[in-house]
C-alpha cells in the first residue's frame, strides 16, 4: 500500500510525579508546548491532533477527551481521542501515524496526559470496574490479582524465580536515575525488592510501577513537511496493534499472543525479518517487572521463557547488546498510564537521534521499538522507529 512516510520531529514531556498541582489539561499543555518548541513550530503549523488518555474514572472527568482538548492544542482542529487502557500511549501515536500516512494531514500533534492522583482512596480502585460486572466484580478483585495470576503462571511455566524477575526492577529503577522526568529513580538490590511488602504474592511493592501524574507529546510530520522542520527525523517505519479475547481467564497467561501479533504486523510493515538482530534497542511496557520479560518474548526479541537469560547475562542493561527500557521504564520513570507509552516512544526517538544524554546507549542504534499493553490484559501496541 502507498503510505506517506511519517517522521517524529519533536517531543515534549513533563516530570512524572505522584501528585501534580496542574490540572490534566495544564499537564497536556506543558508537554505539547515543549514538543512544539523542540522543533520550532507553533500550534498553527499543526493540522491534526491525536490525544491518548486512559480511563475517565482516574480523573473523575467524564469524556476526558473533550476535557483535555484545549491543553492538547485541539481547539478548532480535527481532533481524536484514542483509548485502549494501558496500551493507549503507543496507540495514540499509531493513530497520529494514520492521520499523516493516509495523506490526510502533513502534521499531527500526538499528546498523552494522565492525572491519577484525583482518584481516592487510590487510583487502583478505579480498576475494579474493568472486571466483568456480574461474574468477576462480585469477588472483590483488585487490579493486582490479574498481574499476580499472570506472573505466577509465567514463573511456573518456565521455572523462573521471583529473585530473577526482581532484577528487571533493579535495572529499570537504576536507569531512571538518569531520566530528568523520573518519579522513582532508585539504586536498589534484589533483596530490597524481595523484602518489600508483599501485596499479592508473587507481587511485592517494588515489583510494581507507581501511580503518577504526567504528560508527554510528540510532533509527527510527512516526509516533505519534515524537511522544513528538522534534519534529524526519526521515521515510524512500522505500526501494529492487536486485541485478544476479553475472557482473560481462558487465555494462555504465560505468553502474550496479542503482543506477538501486534509486533509481527509492525515488523512486516517495517521490513524487519529478524527482530532479535534488527531491533537494537527497545522499550517494552513494564508496569510490573515480569512484564518486561513477558513482552520481550511476545515481541520476538527473546525465545519463550528465555528473556530472563538475557536479563541475567546483562544483555538488556543500558550498556548491553540489547538495551531494554534504557529510560527507566514505567518502574523507574513512573506510570501515568497513557503518558508512559508515549514516554517510551520519546526515549527511542532520543536514543536514535543520539540525544539521550546520560542515558545514551552505545553503538549509535538505527532501529528501535516501543510497546505498550493494556485493557483487560488483552491489547498490544507497537511502533518500530528508524533514523
Amino acid at each position: 500500500m502507498a503510505y506517506q512516510k511519517v517522521a517524529i520531529v519533536g517531543a515534549g514531556i513533563t516530570k512524572f510525579v505522584r501528585r501534580a498541582q496542574e490540572t490534566g489539561k495544564e499537564l497536556a499543555f506543558q508537554a505539547s508546548k515543549m514538543a512544539l518548541d523542540s522543533c520550532g513550530m507553533t500550534i498553527d503549523d499543526i493540522e491534526s491532533v491525536s490525544l491518548g488518555t486512559a480511563p475517565d474514572a482516574f480523573d473523575g472527568v467524564h469524556m476526558k477527551g473533550e476535557y483535555l482538548s484545549d491543553g492538547s492544542g485541539g481547539w478548532r482542529k480535527p481532533y481524536m481521542r484514542q483509548f485502549v487502557g494501558g496500551g493507549t500511549g503507543v496507540f495514540a501515536p499509531i493513530h497520529g501515524w494514520l492521520h499523516v500516512a493516509s495523506g490526510m494531514f502533513d502534521t499531527c500533534l500526538v499528546v498523552c496526559s494522565e492525572k491519577m492522583s484525583s482518584c481516592y482512596p487510590h487510583p487502583q480502585g478505579a480498576f475494579k470496574t474493568i472486571f466483568d460486572h456480574t461474574t468477576e466484580q462480585a469477588l472483590d478483585p483488585t487490579l493486582i490479582w490479574i498481574f499476580a495470576l499472570e506472573m505466577n503462571r509465567f514463573m511456573s511455566t518456565y521455572g523462573i524465580t521471583k529473585e530473577e524477575i526482581a532484577q528487571v526492577s533493579v535495572k529499570n529503577k537504576k536507569n531512571a536515575m538518569d531520566h530528568p522526568a523520573a518519579q522513582l529513580p532508585m539504586e536498589i538490590t534484589v533483596d530490597d525488592v524481595m523484602n518489600s511488602e508483599t501485596l499479592a504474592w508473587p507481587v511485592n511493592r517494588l515489583d510494581i510501577s507507581p501511580a503518577s501524574d504526567g504528560a508527554a507529546a510528540i510532533v509527527l510530520a510527512s516526509e516533505h513537511a519534515s524537511k522544513r522542520i528538522t534534519d534529524k527525523p526519526v521515521w515510524i517505519d512500522g505500526v501494529g496493534w492487536n486485541l485478544d479475547t476479553a475472557y482473560w481467564a481462558t487465555r494462555d497467561l504465560s505468553y502474550p499472543r496479542y503482543v506477538e501479533k501486534a509486533a509481527r504486523m509492525a515488523y512486516d510493515m517495517a521490513g524487519v525479518v529478524e527482530p532479535k538482530r534488527e531491533i537494537e534497542i527497545a522499550e517494552p511496557y513494564d508496569p510490573f517487572d515480569y512484564k518486561e520479560l513477558h513482552h520481550m518474548e511476545g515481541l520476538q526479541l527473546a525465545d519463550r521463557g528465555k528473556a530472563v537469560e538475557m536479563l541475567l547475562d546483562g544483555v538488556t542493561q543500558r550498556d548491553g547488546d540489547r538495551p531494554m527500557c534504557p529510560s527507566g521504564g514505567a518502574l523507574g520513570v513512573g506510570n501515568p498510564i497513557a503518558a508512559t507509552g508515549l514516554m517510551k516512544v520519546i526515549e527511542i526517538f532520543l536514543q536514535l537521534r543520539g540525544e539521550a544524554g546520560k542515558r545514551q546507549v552505545p553503538g549509535s542504534p538505527r532501529c528501535g521499538l516501543a510497546q505498550a499493553w493494556g485493557d483487560l490484559m488483552q491489547v498490544g501496541t507497537v511502533v518500530v522507529l528508524r533514523r
Partner: protein
Amino acid sequence: MELDKKELGATHYKESALKEGKLLSLAKQPKLQYAWDNGPAIGRYLEELKEGRIIARKCNKCRRIMIPPRMFCELCWRPTDEWVYVKDTGKVNTFSICYVNWDASRIKKGDKPHLPAVIEIDGASEGMGILHVLGEVEPEKIKIGMKVKAAWKKPEEREGAITDILYFKPVRG
C-alpha cells in the same frame, strides 16, 4: 534536543498541602449506580448457580465448551449452539496470595489473605478458566495444577450470583 529537568513541567505537591489549605481543592463523590442486564447467557449461568450447577455453552464449529457461557463464539464469530452442564470441580491454573483490598487498602492484621485463582473447570474445554477464590487451604499448600471443588452456599442462601460458590477447595486424595 536533550531533556533538562529545569525545563520540565508538573509541580509536585504533598497530600498534606490540601488539608492545610496551601492548595485549593475540591472533593466530590459521583453517586452512580448501575443495574447491568445479564442477558440470556449470564442470566442462565446465574440461575443454574442458584441450583448448585455450573452450565457452559458449546460452539459446534470449533467444538469449544465455553465458561462463562456466551451466546456467540468470539473465535468463530457465530452464535453458539448448545447448553452443556459442566462439573463443579477443576484444577488451579494460577493463583495469588493477596494482602491488598480492591481500593489498595491493606487487609487487617491477622486476617486471612485473599486467595484469587483461575480455575479450569472440568468438562469445559482445555484451558477454559474462570476467576474465583480458594478456601479451606493453607496459602503455602496451594499448587498450580491442584484439583479443587466448589464449596457452595446453602441452597436457601443462594441468590443467583457467582458468589453462590463461596470458594473452591482442594479435593482430598
